[in-house]
């Protein structure tokens, strides 16, 4: 395959995107680099969400919670490090005298990083176990994920002395002795997020192109047929849902280090729905599309809310309607449409390339 053709493949586009994202900090100021870094964390999340929704056909509107758990756990660790063993302010105000057990545990960075991924996975596999095995699917499952968000957010708000309540956690100043407010640390975190994004993309790309990935698509297309072919589809769904929750937790940890505050409203129902919108805007079942969806939607949010705050909500609503009506396949389908057009006009060239059509499958 020639270079020009390779650039057009998903891997090629992704590499170009990576290079672009690696160069952008040279042009952007510190503030905008930091913003972009947060969007990259969202981009990591939507890859996992696309595995579940785009490939397997299970719509989760509860990924804000998995993201949020990762963020909260990381925030708790950083808070304990930042306060140097002293009780955080909100705990003193609610009359606590010593760190609760969970905080004690999470003051160990290894435990925190592991739990930031494992706890969302554990919750997802529990939810998946009880729902998928009992054949709860479609909109009923989606409603359950929303219920999970409500329950968790209510719990976080009500347990103020452990969680900071609706004010959330905001005393995130140092991690491993580095000041989180310094531009150097933030630049490092930007690149760390970029590297994780690349790794997660690579991993999921391998996954969807394996036979396992074909089984996921088969679950979406005809779960019954697949059961009668000898697959325990409930188990597959549980595994992919759990995996995507782990990716969301990882994204949440990277996110909170860059925004340095986490509150219940950031992981509530509306953000959870927005995450699914990014996937839809970018293009379900493409892995790459949702990354563009997440980055562009958030860049759009920032640009419009800075310049036309009152118009922003209308605009995002309009974008969504336009995508649903005119581009059900999301942004990624633009590429295919153009390709088809070009193929139509450059018929001869297409004929010459027909010999290498087999490459499609490699």
């Amino acid at each position: 395959m020639g270079l020009s053709k390779w650039i057009g493949t998903k891997q090629g586009i992704f590499i170009v995107l990576l290079v672009l994202l690696a160069v952008l900090p040279l042009i952007l100021n510190d503030f905008h680099t930091n913003l972009l870094g947060r969007y990259l964390a969202f981009a990591i999340l939507v890859i996992g969400l696309d595995l579940v929704w785009g490939y397997t056909g299970i719509l989760s509107l509860g990924h804000g919670i998995f993201f949020g758990l990762g963020a909260y756990i990381m925030a708790i660790y950083v808070t304990t490090e930042s306060s140097g063993g002293a009780l955080p302010d909100f705990m003193m105000w609610s009359g606590m005298t010593e760190l609760p057990f969970l905080w004690e545990l999470l003051s160990n960075p290894v435990a925190a990083i592991l739990l930031g991924i494992l706890l969302p996975m554990a919750i997802a596999s529990l939810l998946g176990f009880f729902t998928f095995r009992n054949r709860i699917k479609g909109v009923y499952f989606t409603i359950l994920t929303q219920a999970l968000v409500l329950v968790t957010v209510t719990l976080i708000v009500s347990q103020q002395r452990y969680t900071g309540g609706s004010d959330g956690l905001s005393g995130l100043s140092t991690m491993f002795g580095f000041s989180l407010s310094s531009p150097q640390t933030q630049l490092f975190l930007y690149f760390l997020t970029l590297v994780v994004l690349a790794a997660v993309f690579y991993f999921c790309f391998k996954l969807v192109n394996s036979r396992f990935g074909k089984v996921l698509i088969a679950i979406r297309d005809g779960e019954n047929r697949l059961r009668f072919s000898g697959y325990n589809t409930a188990y597959y769904k549980m595994v992919v849902f759990t995996l995507s929750a782990g990716i969301a937790g990882l994204a949440g940890m990277l996110y909170v280090l860059q925004i340095r505050i986490i509150t219940p409203t950031m992981i509530d129902i509306i953000p959870s729905i927005e995450m699914a919108l990014w996937v839809a805007i970018g293009g379900r079942g493409t892995l790459l599309g949702p990354i563009f969806g997440a980055i562009l939607a958030n860049v759009g949010t920032t640009f419009f809310s800075e310049n036309y705050p009152e118009l922003w909500t209308y605009f995002i609503g309009l974008v969504f309607i336009v995508v649903i009506v005119f581009l059900p396949g999301g942004l990624m389908s633009i590429g295919n449409k153009l390709k088809r057009k070009r193929r139509g006009s450059d018929h001869e060239e297409a004929e010459q390339q027909a010999g290498s059509a087999a490459d499609k499958h490699s």
Partner: protein, 263 residues
């Protein structure tokens, strides 16, 4: 394959025994203490008027519908009573649905690849690589169902008849011992019907078949044994000639169409 030569000499072994199968949907009794048995490598047709319980019986056999009472034994002593669909499928009962049921967003080849007999757990699938043997099996199957030229197109783009063959091909890839087919020629052109018929003969080399069919000409052409069902019970069983001579059968089923049944 190697067993085929001396197959004829051996006494027929039983592959399926169903005793007093009872299936109720609310007040409606779909299968009323239905008993059924069939021999290995037999091609057995189920006929009967609408609502006789034919499709329900296939549903019970593949685990889609649970019976309220009775027992079903597959092969020597595998009881399917409390088994899940995927377990029954792994044990060797394949099901072809009436409406073509394939994976439209996978290519024709990938449809066969997913259906193929193999370890079907999550971790086996993650590690699965296409072996040379598997590739050959898929190639051969593509030839049998006549879709070799369409291997790389998305299955959703096939015609109705081609989808039916693809699904039959997928079930064959599972290498079942017993294959359940629900009206395989419904909606097919005459030419496609013939092709499907010869496909059934080919299938019979490797497995036993239960076929639900309404088209009497097709049944007459391909059936070895026919079971007539009526209101959830067994009305009569035998060769097509025996069935046609049976007065009860003529009364409830062929009665109205007696004339064309003899045509």
């Amino acid at each position: 394959m190697k067993k085929q030569n001396n197959k004829q000499d051996q006494p027929l072994t039983s592959i399926l025994k169903c005793r007093d199968v009872l299936v109720k949907f609310g007040d409606f009794t779909a299968l009323d203490r239905f008993s059924f048995g069939m021999a290995d490598k037999e091609i057995h047709f189920l006929i009967g008027p609408n609502g006789a319980g034919k499709t329900t019986f296939l549903d019970v056999l593949c685990g889609l519908t649970k019976m309220s009472d009775g027992s079903i034994t597959f092969q020597k002593n595998y009881s399917i009573d409390d088994k899940k669909e995927f377990e029954i499928a792994r044990k060797g009962i394949g099901r072809k649905f009436q409406a073509p049921s394939i994976f439209p967003h996978l290519t024709v080849q990938e449809n066969l690849e997913v259906a193929m007999k193999q370890e079907k757990g999550v971790f086996s699938m993650l590690r699965a690589k296409m072996t040379k043997k598997q590739k050959e099996k898929i190639d051969r199957q593509l030839e049998i169902i006549g879709l070799a030229g369409k291997r790389d197109i998305l299955a959703g783009g096939l015609s109705h008849g081609q989808k039916q063959w693809l699904e039959i091909g997928m079930v064959m890839m599972q290498e079942p011992e017993l294959l359940l087919l629900d009206e395989p020629i419904a909606g097919m052109t005459e030419e496609e019907e013939e092709k499907t018929g010869s496909l059934l003969r080919e299938l019979k080399q490797d497995c036993s078949l239960i076929v639900v069919e309404h088209d009497m000409d097709f049944v007459r052409e391909y059936a070895e044994k026919v079971t007539v069902m009526h209101e959830g019970t067994l009305l009569s069983e035998g060769t097509m000639e025996e069935i046609q001579q049976n007065d009860k059968v003529r009364e409830v089923y062929l009665g109205s169409k007696g004339a064309d049944a003899h045509a």
